[in-house]
């Protein structure tokens, strides 16, 4: 079971490039037709210097370009079959545009046992910066681990 010693632990920073083809695949999967994400003129008219990404896409970029997408679970000894996503948040500080190269720096911020140890909640915070060093966003997620009842 994950314990308090995990708090403060950080993981390999992830560098991800916002590629237009991969983004288009995401938009098509979701049936996203908003021209601001698909048309350069519409994006400009909406106040962007390039094509922006949808609000949850930061989460995907981090997972797509990480060397080992489940590094954190392996490092903390968590069985992937016992993991659920509890909460997710994004704070946006500056635009993220197609062509940007982003760096994600995840670290564990909290470990909380629930229901007498039946579940453990793991809080992870991730700072996101772009190729110019601009702090574009912060993401937080809570991972729920369903512990094996012994």
């Amino acid at each position: 079971m994950v314990d308090q010693s995990a708090v403060g632990r950080s993981f390999t920073p992830v560098t991800a490039r916002v590629e237009p083809g991969r983004l288009r695949y995401f938009l098509n999967t979701l049936g996203e037709e908003n021209p601001v994400y698909r048309n350069a003129d519409a994006a400009r008219a909406a106040g962007f210097d390039g094509m922006p990404v949808p609000p949850t896409y930061l989460f995907c970029l981090e997972m797509m370009d990480v060397d080992d997408p489940f590094e954190m679970f392996i490092a903390l000894g968590i069985d992937l079959a016992r993991v659920l996503h509890g909460e997710q948040s994004f704070a946006y500080h500056a635009p993220v545009l197609v062509g940007d190269t982003l760096t994600f720096r995840p670290r564990v911020t909290s470990v909380t046992d629930k229901k007498g140890g039946a579940m453990t909640l793991i809080g992870i915070r991730c700072e996101v910066t772009n190729q110019d060093g601009v702090h574009v966003a912060d993401t937080t997620r809570t991972i729920v681990v369903r512990n094996e009842v012994t």
Binding site: P55, M64, V66, H85, Y92
Partner: protein, 136 residues
Amino acid sequence: MTASGDIRAGDRIVHKVFPPITRHTLALYCGASGDHNPIHVDLDFAKAAGFPDVFAHGMLAMAYLGQALTDAVPPSRLRSFATRFVAITQLGAKLTCEGTVTELFAEDGERRARLALTTRDDRGEVKLEGSAVVAL
């Protein structure tokens, strides 16, 4: 939200209904999102983990909610977006995403609105509960 001066607490400004989630949707989202957890696409894996079937990625449901949100609010005005995954979204679910203004306030030199967000399936069960802050 172009006539932002007209926004009042209680206004429902976000509302969108999405098509049913199929196995195909989950397979596509697995690739498109980089979330390759087999629990969402491999029935054998899901059953071995104690689930009756595969189920939707929480982030797929949040992506739909985000889409409903930026249909109503230009993405350049979105300051934050958060959700709690209240219940597992099952295969076949037809999601309805809604957002209502709960508060108008000033922060960082701009007028902002806080929205309460929900995603429900076609039986009315709440799947996601969340909030967003947008600049007016």
